[in-house]
C-alpha cells in the first residue's frame, strides 16, 4: 500500500474551499432555526439543535470536498415532562433534517406503543414494519417509548418491536431517523434495560420545565393566535393562576395552560351569553377578563 493512499488529503491552498454561508443559504435551514427561536423557553434544546445543525452542515461540506465520513447516526431521544414541546420540536427537527438533505421527504410519523405492538403472536412484526415503511424518508416519532418494554411480562410483544426497530435503525440509517420521546425518569429505565438502544441514539435532548413567566408568555402567544387577548385584570389573574396550577397534581406545562385557556374561553362565552340583550362589541368578544380565569377551581 503506497503512502499517498494511506495519508489523509492534506489541506493545500490550491484545493478549492467550500462556502459554508452559501451552503447554509442553499439549504434554507436558517428559516427553520429562526422559527425554532420563536418558541418560548427551551434554551438548552435550541442550543443543542443549533449544534446538531452545524454538525450536519459541516458534514455536508466535507462530503462536497470528498473527505471521509460515514452517514452520521441521527437517531434522537427527547426526554422531558409532559407539555414541554417535544412533539413541536420533533416537527421542526424533521424540517431541519429535510432541508439539510439527511431525510428525503421530511414528514413526521408520530406513533405510540399501540401502533407498533400487535395483540397476538405474529401480529407485531408486520405492524411495526408497516409503520417503519410509512416513516421512511422522514422521521419516526415514538411517543412514550418506554411502554414498548414491559419487564413484568417476559412474553410481551414489545420486545419484538424493539428488535425490529433496532435492526432498521442500524441498517437503513439513510432512510429514516427515529426519535424516542418520553418522561425523563422512565426513559432512563428504558435505556438501562435496552443497552443496544441507548448506544444507537446519538443525541439525547432534555426538555426543561417552563418557568412561570415563560408559561405566561406562552399563554399570551396562544391567545393572540386565536384572536383573543387578556384584559389587565385577566393578566393579573393569569399571573396568580399559573403558580397555583403548577402546584396541583397532573401539571403538564404548556398543555395545562392551553386547557386552562380553553376553559377561560368557555366561561367568557357563558358570561357574554348571560349578558345578552345588549350589543356586544368586537372588543368584548376578544377580551378575556379576570373573572373568567378566577372562576377556576384552582383558586378555590
Amino acid at each position: 500500500m503506497s503512502e499517498a493512499v494511506a495519508s489523509p488529503p492534506s489541506p493545500s491552498p490550491a484545493t478549492p474551499g467550500v462556502d459554508l454561508d452559501a451552503l447554509l443559504a442553499g439549504s434554507q435551514v436558517t428559516q427553520v432555526l429562526d422559527q425554532l427561536d420563536e418558541l418560548i423557553g427551551l434554551a438548552p434544546v435550541k442550543a443543542r439543535i443549533r449544534e446538531i445543525a452545524a454538525l450536519l452542515l459541516v458534514e455536508r461540506a466535507r462530503k462536497q470536498l470528498g473527505l471521509a465520513g460515514g452517514s452520521p447516526s441521527l437517531h434522537m431521544s427527547f426526554t422531558g415532562n409532559p407539555g414541554t414541546g417535544k412533539t413541536t420540536v420533533a416537527l421542526r427537527m424533521a424540517q431541519i433534517l429535510h432541508r439539510l438533505g439527511y431525510v428525503r421527504k421530511g414528514h413526521l410519523v408520530a406513533v405510540t406503543r399501540d401502533d407498533l405492538v400487535g395483540q397476538y403472536i405474529g401480529h407485531t412484526a408486520p405492524k411495526t414494519k408497516e409503520v417503519l415503511k410509512k416513516a421512511m424518508g422522514g422521521v419516526l416519532f415514538i411517543d412514550e417509548a418506554y411502554y414498548l418494554y414491559r419487564p413484568e411480562n417476559e412474553r410481551d410483544y414489545g420486545q419484538e418491536a424493539i428488535e425490529i426497530l433496532l435492526q432498521v435503525m442500524e441498517n437503513q440509517r439513510e432512510d429514516l431517523v427515529v426519535i424516542f420521546a418520553g418522561y425523563s425518569d422512565r426513559m432512563a429505565t428504558f435505556y438501562r434495560s435496552n443497552p443496544g438502544m441507548s448506544s444507537r441514539i446519538a443525541h439525547h435532548l432534555d426538555f426543561p420545565d417552563y418557568a412561570p413567566e415563560e408559561l405566561e408568555a406562552i399563554a399570551e402567544r396562544m391567545l393572540t393566535s386565536l384572536d383573543y387577548r387578556l384584559s389587565p385584570s385577566g393578566s393579573a389573574a393569569l399571573h396568580d393562576y399559573i403558580p397555583l396550577r403548577m402546584r396541583q397534581p397532573h401539571f403538564a406545562n404548556a398543555r395545562s395552560i392551553r386547557n386552562a385557556l380553553d376553559r377561560a374561553r368557555l366561561r367568557q362565552a357563558n358570561r357574554l351569553f348571560a349578558a345578552r340583550g345588549r350589543d356586544i362589541s368586537r372588543d368584548q368578544l376578544m377580551t378575556i377578563e379576570g373573572e373568567d380565569i378566577r372562576a377556576s377551581r384552582v383558586f378555590a
Binding site: 428525503r104 421527504k105 414528514h107 408486520p126 408497516e130 417503519l132 415503511k133 410509512k134 421512511m136 424518508g137 422522514g138 437503513q172 432512510d175 429514516l176
Partner: protein, 139 residues
Amino acid sequence: MRITQGAFSFLPDLTDAEVRAQIEYSLAQGWAIGVEYTDDPHPRNFYWEMWGNPMFDLRDPAGVMSEVLACREAHPRQYIRVSAFDSRRGFETTRLSFMVNRPGDEPGFLLKRNEVGGRQIQYTLESYATLAPEGRRYQ
C-alpha cells in the same frame, strides 16, 4: 419466450434504480402499492399471490423497495410485479403495473387446437411451465 405483461414489458428489464423511480412517481400520485408474485405466466391469470399487504400512505420508495427485494430473495425464479392502485373513484383501480422480476428461462406456450362441432376450432394457450405442479415450476 419472453413474457410481455404490464407496462414497460417490451423494454429491457428495469434496473433497481428505474423501479425505484417508477415507485417514487406512483407514490407522488397518492397511489397505494402492492407487490405480487406468481409462477403461472398465463395472460389470463389475474390472481397473483400477494407479498404482504398492499402498502398505503407511504411517502418514500425505500419501504416498497425493501419489500420488492425481500420478495425477490424468497422467489428468485418467479414473476414479480409491482402494482399501483388509485382510490380516487372510491375503489382501488390499478393505474400502473409492471414486472420487476422474471425467471431466467421462460419456456413459452403451447397452442392447442381443439376441434369441436363441425370444423370449428377452439384455441387454447398453455404454458409449458405450468405442466409441472405449482411451486415446482422454473426450477
